[in-house]
Amino acid sequence: MAVLTTLWQDFQASWRRMVFFGLVFALLFQIFMMIALIVRFQNFPNYVTFYDWFGSAIHIVKSTPSLRDVGPIIWEEWLIEIGYMNYDYGSGISEWSLNVVPSRLFVLFILGACVSLCLTLLKRDVCGAGASNTMRATTGLGALMVAMTNATMSWVVCCATPSWVVGLAMLGLGVSTSLALETMGPLLTYGGFGLLAVTILFLAWQKTRAQALSNMRFANA
């Protein structure tokens, strides 16, 4: 209970920073993916398409009988598509594209906010440098796991269905590895958030304990 109180106090004190960090993280991740694509394919984007995400979401809600199906379908809806159209073939074929997907932006926003909270707690961490580094590494690993499963890079290779692993394949991941990883997407996402949650709770517990010890010393003095 004391741990949750500590967490709540920290959240209240730093929520603006968490929101800001979440937004910046989601935005920076899009920029990172764009730079990765430009470097990988050696060409700049030459087309951009905007989609009516809200209109699509309303249309999906109206035309999908089962509420259970609505979420996963809206989850895949795009807001912006930025890519490189190769006009050497036919009337043009999209060689690569970065898709800005609101559902993934939301996940990345939450991720950024969690990382921000972890860093705030780490700053006030009273344990040694070694333990702090372990916590930072755990935070980084959790963030990496979530971020990579929310990559939204795509190309025509996705004859079947676009998935997160396509982005890694585009950046050079081997076929067998990417196929093996593909099914592990949800597991990696939940695992990443799980790691972050454990880190946050552990840091909050440490802080609570340190405060209790400090209070005891103060009372005994």
Binding site: F41, H59, Y89, G90, V157
Partner: protein, 458 residues
């Protein structure tokens, strides 16, 4: 009647009139996702769109007497996004190749409330031509067995990927003996042109584009796997149940598109080049008599077997949901469409075109830039005409011959030529050409050398 009642009556009347007007002017939105860079989908896509064939068949009587139609077309580079758009109900119809079709059916069946129906094919190649493995034109690889230790790219998840896996298995090449890379068609083609990759496996019409542009050479044709290569039409089940006559109209348009191409393939591919940007000479290899594609939309038992085989490949390699083929595939709409057209469905369904038999004895062709296409019964006649045309400096768009082994239609310039005495033969692959030459006391020669035999000096 009080004033209040009068007001209510007037209001009710207005509402009913408005409702009546709405009902009498119902607009049916028909949204179709197609692929202008995938030749085998053209008869359910770009041809119907550009010729307005669907509009010709849409019902206008009975329940549809006062209906207005709003037909929209969306062009995609692959089938995956079409499925996503169909799930979002932004597309009613989707046209795609066999692998994406299977994923479409499976992904819909994975949902609680949505389904698609596979209602018609577009065309097929019985043995699997359309998919192929290509190497850079200067490569010293001539057979699939040369790919041991090589880097091979393919669009993973596509029919070409499935073909590549089977071809390697059939030839005893385990996956650890080659490096498989995931690559899009455009990048794969560019890498072949630049010699940056040892081989690239792709679907229609990429291999032929590379051959036509002189950047790539086929070392393996999909027909060697013996697995039919087909494309088809899926429709959302809720749309099909609400407007079955519209689905039938679409299938009639698919059939009509095939007839239109068969009527004058040269004219058809010339127009299609303008619509899609794909070279007409490449398209002719698909759509002409003896071409890779048999345009006929019936649903044959063999196609269902092929789709089931492909589903097995996808299930083994990727985690895709199961697919109940009985619930997914229906012949109801295509049978009704054929009946309305007065065409014998059973006859079409029973007829399967095997290129080996069907292309036997077909004439070779020369596409003169000004005079169009001329046909020649024998290779010496063809070579004589080539020599004469070259002597006049005529501009030739392309030439077409047949692989003696498989009956596959080839570009004259990419075929391997064998001269044995006074006889000539053409082959897709060097290995068969050399074997034929050895068996018949001949030699493998170039296309130019074959033509030079018929040049009359002076």
């Amino acid at each position: 009647m009080t004033m209040n009642q009068n007001l209510k009556t007037a209001l009710l009347g207005s509402v009913m009139m408005a409702a009546g007007t709405f009902a009498s002017a119902e607009t049916i939105e028909i949204a179709i996702g197609h692929q202008s860079m995938c030749t085998d989908t053209y008869t359910a896509g770009i041809v119907i769109k550009e010729l307005g064939l669907l509009e010709q068949y849409l019902p206008t009587d009975g329940d549809y007497a006062d209906v207005e139609y709003e037909v929209t077309w969306a062009d995609y580079s692959s089938g995956g996004p079409i499925t996503n758009q169909m799930l979002a109900n932004k597309l009613n119809f989707g046209v795609m190749g066999d692998y994406p079709l299977i994923v479409n059916g499976a992904k819909f069946q994975e949902t609680e409330s949505l389904r698609t129906l596979y209602v018609a094919g577009t065309g097929y190649n019985l043995k699997g031509s359309g998919n192929a493995i290509v190497v850079p034109v200067e490569s010293d690889m001539y057979s699939i067995t040369d790919l041991v230790g090589a880097e091979v790219s393919t669009p993973v998840g596509s029919a070409a990927w499935g073909m590549l896996l089977k071809a390697m298995q059939d030839n005893g090449i385990p996956t650890e003996d080659y490096v498989l890379k995931n690559q899009s068609p455009a990048v794969g083609a560019a890498n072949i042109a630049a010699g940056k990759i040892d081989a690239h496996s792709d679907f229609c019409p990429w291999s032929e584009i590379m051959e036509y542009r002189g950047t790539g050479r086929k070392i393996y044709d999909g027909s060697e796997t013996g697995v039919p290569y087909l494309h088809g039409v899926v429709v959302r089940q809720d749309f099909a149940e609400e407007y079955p006559e519209v689905v039938e109209a679409f299938i009639k348009a698919v059939w009509q598109a095939g007839e239109w191409i068969r009527e004058d393939p040269m004219e058809a591919v010339t127009l299609m080049e303008g619509w899609t940007g794909v070279e007409k000479e490449v398209l002719y290899l698909y759509f002409s008599e003896g071409g890779h594609l048999t345009l006929e939309p019936s649903i044959k038992d063999e196609w269902i077997d092929a789709l089931a085989f492909n589903h097995g490949v996808l299930t083994n390699e990727r985690a895709i949901p199961p697919l109940d083929f009985d619930a997914w595939i229906t012949e109801d709409y295509i049978r009704a469409a054929y009946e309305d057209l007065g065409v014998d469905y059973e006859a079409d369904k029973a007829s399967i075109v095997d290129p080996v038999a069907a292309n036997e004895g077909l004439p070779m062709e020369i596409w003169h830039a000004r005079d169009g296409i001329s046909s020649y019964e024998t290779l010496p006649d063809f070579l004589t005409a080539m020599a004469e045309m070259q002597a006049t400096g005529a501009l030739l768009n392309s030439t077409y011959v047949y692989d003696s082994e498989t009956g596959l239609k080839l570009f004259g310039k990419t075929a391997f030529w064998v001269k044995a005495g006074e006889e000539y033969a053409t082959f897709l692959r060097l290995g068969e050409a050399e074997a034929f030459a050895e068996a018949n006391g001949g030699a493998v020669i170039s296309f130019d050398e074959a033509i030079s035999d018929f040049v009359i000096e002076g």
